[in-house]
Amino acid sequence: MSSGETILRLEKLTKHFPVTRGIIFQREIATLKAVDDVSFEIKAGQTLGLVGESGCGKSTLARCIVRLLDPTSGRIEFEGEDISRLSGKALRSVRRDLVMIFQDPMSSLNPRMRVSEIIGEPLEVYRAGTSATRRARVMELLELVGLNSEHFNRFPHEFSGGQRQRIGIARALALSPKLIVCDEPVSALDVSVQAQIINLLEDLQAEFGLTYLFIAHDLDIVRRVSDEVHVMYLGRVVERGTDEDLYEAPHHPYSAALLSARPVPDPDRAQNRTHIVLEGDVPSPLDLPSGCRFRTRCPRAQPVCSEVEPELDGPAGIHEWACHYPLETWPLASPEDIRRPGSAVGVTEVGP
């Protein structure tokens, strides 16, 4: 697949978990809407970043895409084929091209397996080559991720956090995949090690033309690696755009609040800027607010927000937001600015 073509396309992907009560006659008492109606596409060779706070459904979405979870409804098109209902052999062959890197490099590596076995396992599972070529491939992968052949026979506990993440990356690369879903790959690491892993992921992308779906809660890291960024809140994408769109001109109040909450590593800017401090906590996904999901914490909420759920929309291009009263100016001059919905925009954006 050449770069620029769509490699992954989600269409109204939804994942609901039933909450049941009772042992024999399990009654469904509620539905947890973890991912609700998410659509997007990623072009080959690009990186799509997904940000949001814990519980917003980003990991569930990742797990649905690699089919560790079965989506409730919607389509997942990978290289033009709907993989959302695949099983058995067909699913197995897709999983060669579609792999995942996990957040916690300790719990995602089997402590009783040697590094060579961990990295070589995908090759063995897919019966790729002979044992001699597999061994050579493991050596090659070790070099590729910045480890060396003397690490071949060691166990995961002998490595630091950053090195373990490198092992996880080597395992993901073993079968030369096309798309890698990275679920918080650096959030468990120290800053200087984070930088090493991000550089490695960027180098690998340049070398092999990999496509990434990059999930993180750190806005700066997502901006750094992504061509396009999606902000999720309670199972929905509330705003999406290129990194410039989103970081220089956020329109959804939630994106704005996230950006303003992010600590800025520059004392002059940090201590003199406008903070938007959201009140309260994220509502329970079991009992979602009516209308717009963000309205309970939104400083701009108006009566219509509790009635009509806003859809993703924007004037042109890929920058879109789901809000009845989007922000017009950024950065804000004072914290009060976020409370003043611009009347003109407010009226035109509302509608069935």
Binding site: V191, Q196, E202
Partner: protein, 336 residues
């Protein structure tokens, strides 16, 4: 004289593999109404130095030396009873994980009120509860009266951290030690907690020691910064001096590895390798093996803290001041 003065603090642990020198020669001071940030990677000794100051380490494994003057009292020399009296009243501490530091089988109200009652036997139960309620209100917990009857598991992470802060502040401590209080929290919740610590500092005039590995949080909150590496202070100074004219190669590495702004085209600066083992630390500068400016001298002589441009700005590095200043000028907001 500053409220807290730590001078030449050493802490080591005896383990089966030998002596681990976790903290070696750490000195700093904090005054009323000031926030001191301590930054460094995991294992650099930030938490251990705080636990040493609070005398919360088991004496069987840890040995501590140096001088820790708090309001005229040497904490390392104080008796157990004196410490008991100071902890929670004059010096309070907030830990990283609010779930493990709250007792899961007691109600929030009881736990917060206990902190007040334990230091004031004359306080009646009703009064203690009233103070607990006032404190929960002060830290921004909605419907505080109902929350007094909740158990920790019924609250979200941010709420639990607020309860911890309420508990720490109920006796109006002169010094608050916060050990990565926002690391486990989401960014919007972190912003709420930082805002809270900011107002408490201005309203109560308490001194705060804030331990973190997040340089962004330091820039947001702190007046002074101590940068630690492998048990030692490598740089110390005002927050503007350290961020705009950093002097130590390790600080350059930390600041350079931040994914920051519009540098998509440029590779992130990363510090090669990993910190040395504290069982057998290298002689000379402990950062030498990862330093890109390393010289022969660095491997043998240990650099002492020397003063650097700026007010009360110190660095432990052998590099010539001109080289350091040139490098420092490349940082955003630097003098160049």
């Amino acid at each position: 004289m500053a409220l807290l003065e730590v001078h030449d603090l050493h802490t080591s642990f005896s383990t089966d593999d030998g002596l681990v020198r976790a903290v070696e020669g750490v000195s700093f001071s904090v005054d009323h109404g000031r926030v001191l940030g301590i930054v460094g990677e995991s294992g650099c000794g930030k938490s251990v130095s705080m636990l040493s100051i609070m005398r919360l380490l088991s004496m069987r494994q840890a040995s501590t030396s140096g001088r820790v003057m708090f309001d005229g009292v040497d904490l390392l020399e104080a008796s157990a009873a004196e410490m008991q009296n100071l902890r929670g009243r004059e010096i309070a501490m907030i830990f990283q994980d609010p779930m493990t530091s709250l007792n899961p089988v007691y109600r929030i109200g009881w736990q917060v009120a206990e902190a007040a009652r334990i230091h004031d036997a004359t306080l009646s139960k009703a009064e203690a509860n009233k103070r607990a309620e006032a404190m929960l209100t002060a830290v921004g917990i909605p419907s505080p009266r109902e929350r007094l009857a909740s158990y920790p598991h019924e609250l979200s992470g941010g709420m639990r951290q607020r309860v911890m802060i309420a508990m720490a502040l109920i006796n109006n401590p002169k010094l608050l030690i916060a050990d990565e209080p926002t690391t486990a929290l989401d960014v919007t919740t972190q912003a709420q907690i930082l805002e809270l610590i900011r107002t408490l500092r201005t309203d109560l005039g308490s001194a705060v020691v804030f331990i973190t590995h997040d340089l962004g949080v330091v820039a947001e909150l702190c007046d002074e910064v101590v940068v630690m590496y492998a048990g030692k202070v490598v740089e110390r100074g005002g927050v503007r001096d350290v961020f705009h004219a950093p002097q130590h190669p390790y600080t350059w590495g930390l600041l350079g590895s931040l994914p920051g702004r519009n540098l998509r085209s440029k590779r992130l600066f990363s510090i090669a390798g990993s910190p040395p083992s504290l069982l057998d630390p290298p002689t000379g500068c402990r950062f030498a093996m990862r330093c890109i400016h390393v010289m022969d001298r660095c491997r043998n002589d240990e650099p002492a803290l020397v003063s650097a441009p700026g007010d009360e700005h110190f660095v432990a590095c052998h590099l010539a001041p001109e080289i350091r200043n040139d490098a420092a000028n490349q940082f955003p907001g630097g003098t160049a």
